[in-house]
C-alpha cells in the first residue's frame, strides 16, 4: 500500500470534521450523559443527548482521540440530530455493517459515507465505532 492509498482512509471530509468538529461541547440540560473509552488505545468520548418525546433534539460531545474517532463523533452527532431514536439506532446498525465492509445504501448518511474506507483498516474500526457505541448506550440508558 503506497502512501496515497491512505487517502481511502483519510478523506478530506473526515479531516474537515476532525479539524472543525461539529457539536463539540456540552449541553446545559443534557438528558443523558455517556462516558465511553476504548481501553486498548485510550481514546475517550463524553456524549450528551437531549432526547424529548422519542426524538434526539440535540447532541454534543467532548473527548480525545485520533482523527477517525473524533471525526466519527462529529459526523454522528450531526446525523442523529432531529432523528427519532429508532432511526438513530437503525443508522448505527447500518454504520456497523459499513465497518464490516458490507455493501450498504449510504444515500441518507451524508458525510458518514466518507468513513467507508475505515473498513479496510481493521485496526481502526474501533476508533470509528466508539461514538456510535456511546450513542447506543445513551439511548438505552434514557
Amino acid at each position: 500500500m503506497a502512501l496515497n492509498n491512505l487517502d481511502t482512509l483519510y478523506r478530506q471530509v473526515i479531516m474537515d470534521h476532525y479539524k472543525n468538529p461539529r457539536n463539540r461541547g456540552t449541553l446545559e440540560e443534557g438528558s443523558v450523559t455517556v462516558d465511553m473509552n476504548n481501553p486498548t488505545c485510550g481514546d475517550r468520548i463524553q456524549l450528551q443527548l437531549d432526547i424529548q418525546d422519542g426524538i434526539v433534539k440535540d447532541a454534543k460531545f467532548q473527548g480525545e482521540g485520533c482523527s477517525i474517532s473524533m471525526a466519527s463523533a462529529s459526523m454522528m452527532t450531526q446525523a442523529i440530530k432531529g432523528l427519532e431514536v429508532e432511526a438513530a439506532l437503525e443508522m448505527s446498525e447500518m454504520f456497523s455493517e459499513m465497518m464490516l465492509g458490507e455493501d450498504i445504501d449510504t444515500e441518507d448518511m451524508g458525510d458518514i459515507e466518507a468513513l467507508q474506507g475505515v473498513s479496510k483498516f481493521p485496526a481502526r474500526i474501533k476508533c470509528a465505532t466508539l461514538a456510535w457505541k456511546a450513542m447506543e448506550k445513551g439511548v438505552h440508558n434514557e
Binding site: 502512501l3 482512509l9 488505545c41 485510550g42 482521540g65 483498516f121
Partner: protein
C-alpha cells in the same frame, strides 16, 4: 556485531508489508524470533513431545530433561543460586501476580505500605492495587523527576518502617528509563522491605545478576527476548519462596493428596500447577543460547547506540515531542504536534514501519505525561540505523500528510 548476519536469522523480517520492506520497531511489545528458536520448538514437537515429571517412558524422560535443562539455563542466565529459585509461568504478569497474591497477602497488614512508581506497566501496578485493597495497606508512589527518572533521595524519603514491599520496573516500557534497582534494593532492605523487580524490559536487554542486585523477586517474559509467547520466569529468593503458599492448585504441584488436605511438592514445582509450558521453556532455552552467543553486552551497546542515534535524528523533526531521559534503553516514545499517535502509526504502517501507538499499558504514566496516548519506536538486536532513517522519513511524510491538503 554483524547486524546483517543477525537479521538473516529472523525469517519474519524478510517480507514486504504494504509493498514496503518491513521495518519492525515494536520489540518492546514483543520481539521477533530467530530461526534457532523456531527450530528448537519445532524439533521438540516433532521428536520429543511428552508430558514431564510423570511417565517412565523415553519421551517422558526426554521432555523432562529438556524442561529442567531450560530451568538450569535460565538460572545461569540471571545468575541465580539455585534452580529452586526459577519458577516457570506464563509471563511477567503471572509472576508479579503470584508475588502480590501469595507473598503480599501473607506478609502485609493494614498499617503497612507498598511502594511503587507512576512509571509502572499495569502488570506491576494493578496487582499491588489489589493487594493493598485486600490487606488494607497503603499504596505509595515514588515521585518522578521531570525527565522520568527516580532520585535515590526520594527513595530514601519515601521508605520507612511501614514499607513492606517495593515494586519497581527495571526499565520503563514508555520512557526507557533504566532504574537504579540495585541501589533501590539496598534502601528497601535497610527497611526490611522486599524488593520486587518487573524485568519485562530489563532481562531481554541488560545482563541481569539477581545475586548482585540482591532483589528478592525478578519477573520477566520470554517473548520479549526472542523466545515464544506464553513462557515467563519468576525468580525468587529460596527462603522467601519456601514460606509462600501456591495460588494455583492441582496436578504437578502436589506431594501427597488425602481426602481433606494435601501437601506440596518442593520448590520450584509447588508453584507450577498443571502441565507446564514445556515447548515454551525449550524455546526460551534456545533464545538464551542465541543471545549469549551474540553477547548480551554487545546487544545492549548496539541498542544504546541506536537509541542515541534515534534521539539525535528525531529531535531534528519540527514539532516532535520526545518523552523520557537522555540516557535510556533502546526505545523512543514521542508525539507529533497535531497528529494523534494512531494516525502516525497508520501512516507509518502504510510505509511498512511497525510502531506502537496507545497508552502502552501505563495509563497513570500517560496522565503524568499529560497525554492520552503516544507513539513508540523500540529497537532490538536486529534493528539498524537505516531502520531509524526510514522512521524519520516516515515521520516527515506523516507531518506533511496531516499538515497539508486538509485545511
Amino acid at each position: 556485531m554483524d547486524i546483517k548476519a543477525i537479521k538473516e536469522q529472523f525469517p519474519i523480517l524478510h517480507q514486504e508489508v504494504n509493498e514496503h520492506p518491513l521495518v519492525y520497531l515494536d520489540s518492546s511489545a514483543t520481539s521477533q524470533k530467530p530461526v534457532q528458536v523456531i527450530e528448537a520448538v519445532n524439533e521438540y514437537y516433532r521428536l520429543h513431545n511428552s508430558n514431564v515429571h510423570r511417565g517412565v517412558h523415553t519421551l517422558g524422560s526426554r521432555a523432562t530433561d529438556q524442561y529442567e535443562g531450560a530451568r538450569e539455563k535460565v538460572r545461569e542466565f540471571i545468575h541465580a543460586k539455585s534452580t529452586k529459585e526459577i519458577i516457570f509461568n506464563r509471563g511477567t504478569t503471572t509472576g508479579l501476580n503470584l508475588v502480590a497474591s501469595s507473598y503480599a497477602r501473607a506478609n502485609v497488614g493494614p498499617e503497612d505500605e507498598i511502594v511503587i512508581t507512576p512509571m509502572e506497566h499495569h502488570s506491576n501496578l494493578i496487582p499491588w492495587q489489589q493487594a493493598a485493597k485486600a490487606t488494607g495497606a497503603r499504596l505509595v508512589y515514588l515521585p518522578l523527576q521531570e525527565d522520568g527518572t527516580i532520585l535515590l533521595d526520594d527513595v530514601k524519603n519515601t521508605m520507612n518502617e511501614k514499607t513492606k514491599i517495593v515494586a519497581i520496573t527495571h526499565v520503563s516500557n514508555v520512557l526507557g528509563t533504566i532504574n537504579p534497582i540495585k541501589e533501590i534494593t539496598e534502601i528497601a532492605h535497610q527497611h526490611d522491605a522486599v524488593m520486587v523487580v518487573d524485568g519485562a524490559q530489563g532481562a531481554p536487554h541488560i545482563q541481569v545478576d539477581v545475586q548482585d542486585i540482591d532483589c528478592d523477586f525478578y519477573a520477566f517474559s520470554g517473548h520479549k527476548m526472542c523466545a515464544p509467547t506464553g513462557i515467563g520466569v519468576l525468580y525468587g529468593k529460596q527462603e522467601l519462596l519456601e514460606n509462600m503458599e501456591p495460588i494455583e492448585f492441582g496436578g504437578e504441584m502436589i506431594d501427597f493428596v488425602n481426602l481433606y488436605d494435601s501437601t506440596w511438592k518442593e520448590l520450584p514445582w509447588k508453584f507450577e500447577g498443571g502441565t507446564p509450558i514445556i515447548a515454551g521453556a525449550v524455546g526460551l532455552a534456545a533464545a538464551i543460547d542465541f543471545l549469549k552467543e551474540i553477547g548480551q553486552d554487545e546487544i545492549l551497546a548496539h541498542e544504546t547506540e541506536l537509541a542515541a542515534y534515534a534521539l539525535e535524528q528525531m529531535q531534528t523533526i519540527d514539532g516532535i515531542r520526545i518523552y523520557g531521559p537522555q540516557k535510556r534503553a533502546g526505545l523512543v516514545t514521542f508525539n507529533l504536534d497535531d497528529v494523534h499517535p494512531h494516525d502516525t502509526a497508520t501512516v507509518l504502517d502504510a510505509e511498512g514501519i511497525a510502531v506502537r501507538a496507545g497508552h502502552h499499558c501505563a495509563q497513570p504514566l500517560m496522565k503524568w505525561l499529560d497525554v492520552t496516548a503516544t507513539a513508540r519506536a523500540s529497537f532490538y538486536l536486529y534493528n539498524t540505523k537505516e531502520d531509524i532513517d526510514l522512521l524519520v522519513a516516515g515521520l516527515l511524510k506523516t507531518k506533511e500528510y496531516f499538515g497539508n491538503g486538509f485545511e
